[in-house]
């Protein structure tokens, strides 16, 4: 079925820069200073005020409230009082929630701080190796969702996400993981693939002997391209690599599945394919070719889990790991994710 593959690839190829959809895409949600989960006193005040004073902006709510008025417990006193009561109660609930959440948030931040101090790789593969040796099993394929932070923040902007990505590569190489997929919604990594390769090379030469930096390959499934090592050194090297890095974006998720459907529909229309040919196995092999294999472990470095359009076919049995209220790409999250994976028991269907 290479016909399908080539049809989809043709679609992807070449004009990605002109692709309007790529340009119109909104920037990824940043989790820097304005962490929406972070509570503050101001928010509580705001919430109570707007809860109590602002009228509902949807007709559905109005209608529902009118219905409630008929049978409500407060029906004698009229709907307005009941409505006000609801809003006040909601304000109180939100205030209570914000209070509890604030304590939780501070607790989690302190926990993360302590963990970051406890797990410190300090650029040495030996320490990482020691941590990994204690684990029973390692994921064969690791994936991570990265986010671009605000330009002004520490570790923000495109250079921040490139740095985060290359750090993850260095840890994975040290841990002995052979396949790493890096996902970011807008595809900043794959658009700056040369910078990324440079970054990875520098990071690895900090970890290892600069004369003998581990070889790596960067694969971009969307454009069907593979790059070896840092720019300028690809020709002289052999193709044996220690780690293969795939760079994914939102484009490799649903849109690739849609392209695949289109390609198959076209082939069906030309009678080159029958409807009964479309099986789970066929789609699986095609998507493995187009995107890659399913990862065993997916790490997320944001405050609360959001898959952000990660390829849906590829998260069937993937173990998900993230640290509550964390917003940094740190080694402690990485190693704790590996630990969680080593401890989990997989029993499909049972």
């Amino acid at each position: 079925m290479t016909k399908i593959h080539s049809a989809v690839m043709k679609d992807h190829d070449g004009n990605w820069r002109k692709d309007q959809r790529d340009r119109q895409r909104v920037p990824a949600i940043t989790n820097g200073r304005t962490n929406p989960a972070k509570p503050s006193i101001n928010k509580v005040k705001n919430s109570i005020e707007s809860m109590a004073l602002s009228p509902p902006d949807s007709d559905v709510v109005k209608k529902k409230l009118e219905q409630n008025q008929m049978k409500g417990i407060w029906s004698q006193s009229g709907g307005n009082i009941e409505y006000l009561f609801c809003k006040v109660l909601l304000g109180v609930l939100f205030a209570l929630y914000a209070g509890i959440r604030y304590v939780q948030y501070e607790f989690n931040r302190i926990k993360i701080l302590v963990l970051n101090l406890a797990y410190n790789p300090s650029n040495s593969p030996q320490l990482i190796r020691q941590d990994v040796m204690k684990l029973e099993k390692l994921p064969r394929r690791l994936a991570a969702i990265l986010e671009k932070k605000r330009e002004g923040d520490v570790g923000g902007g495109v250079s921040g996400i490139l740095n985060d990505g290359s750090e993850l590569v260095a840890w994975s190489v040290s841990a002995g993981i052979k396949h790493l997929s890096l996902y970011d919604y807008d595809g900043h990594l794959k658009r700056n693939v040369d910078d990324f390769r440079d970054n990875v090379f520098h990071k690895l030469s900090k970890f290892y002997d600069p004369k003998n930096v581990p070889k790596f390959a960067v694969r971009i499934p969307q454009w069907n391209k593979v790059y070896f090592n840092s720019p300028g050194s690809e020709a002289s090297e052999s193709k044996k690599v220690l780690i293969e890095i795939s760079l994914l974006s939102n484009r490799d998720g649903r849109e690739t599945i849609i392209d695949l459907t289109k390609a198959m529909a076209e082939l069906c229309a030309k009678n080159e394919m029958k409807l009964s040919d479309i099986t789970m196995k066929l789609i699986d092999t095609e998507l493995i070719q187009l995107v890659g294999h399913e990862p065993d472990l997916l790490l997320y470095f944001g405050p609360s889990l959001d898959l952000q359009g990660f390829p849906p076919w590829h998260i069937r049995l993937t173990e998900l790991y993230w640290e509550q209220d964390n917003d940094q790409v740190t080694y402690s999250v990485f190693i704790r994710g590996l630990k969680k994976f080593a401890d989990c028991k997989m029993n499909v269907g049972k």
Binding site: P27, S58, L93, F94, A265, S304, Q308, L317, Y321
Partner: protein
Amino acid sequence: MTDNNTFPGSSQALNFCKNVFSRALRSSNNVPRHIGLIMDGNRRWAKRKHVEIKEGHSAGFHSMSRALELCYEAGVNTATVFAFSIENFRRSAIEVDSLMNLASSGIRQVVQNGEMAEKFGVRINIIGDRSLLPEDVLREVEAAEKITKDNTRAVLNLCFPYTGRDELLQSIIRTIDKTQNKELNFTNIDEAVIDENLYTGGSPPVDLLIRTSGVTRLSDFLLWQLSRKGVVIEFLDCLWPDFGSRQMAWILLKFAYKKFYSASEPELDEEIEGQGDSYSKSKQF
């Protein structure tokens, strides 16, 4: 599970609290519209309590109706429940049988007693690969759908036997079939078309998933729907039979609070420097 609370009138008081709470939440206008539930941990619960696995499953069923009651009361429109995976057919024949029995008697109970179905006007929808069901269960299922088909207030999707990849595959096949029949041009295939042809086609988009028993995997449930940006995923450590209205209430409150603030404080778009400059220049001239 509240009946060990023997203080007179306490259950009424509890009910009253639940009522008031869900009404308050509903007035926030930030309630999830479509909830996904993976009810994990029934068997472990049974083992821990030294009762039969069957009883674990039926405790799970009660827990489900408790959670759903609060959800519908608070204004959730659709709930999709992972009742039985295609992979579950790998379990022992006895357990598969008892699960099938439980499901069909559960469905019958919901329909006949009609408490939940009547109170909330729940329409029951069985989604999944029906060809795998035994004939008597299939009949039960179809009867349930027929009886509740006129209810419009809320929908309960029972995934029975279901997997997310199978759903996606069926949607792709259905879409291509439509292009074959000239109902659809293949250049018009997009996310919305695939969405429509999924089993959950007519429902609003899923915006919250709850999974219990500390497992942090999706296990082939609603893959396409849950990978969408902005879907809230909650993994809880408690086993499903221990999951009560309190946990449900907390999750709903959390969801409403989060949505309320992401709506009232829109993310400021990062200003692209070049654009900002050219704008100020054009203003000057």
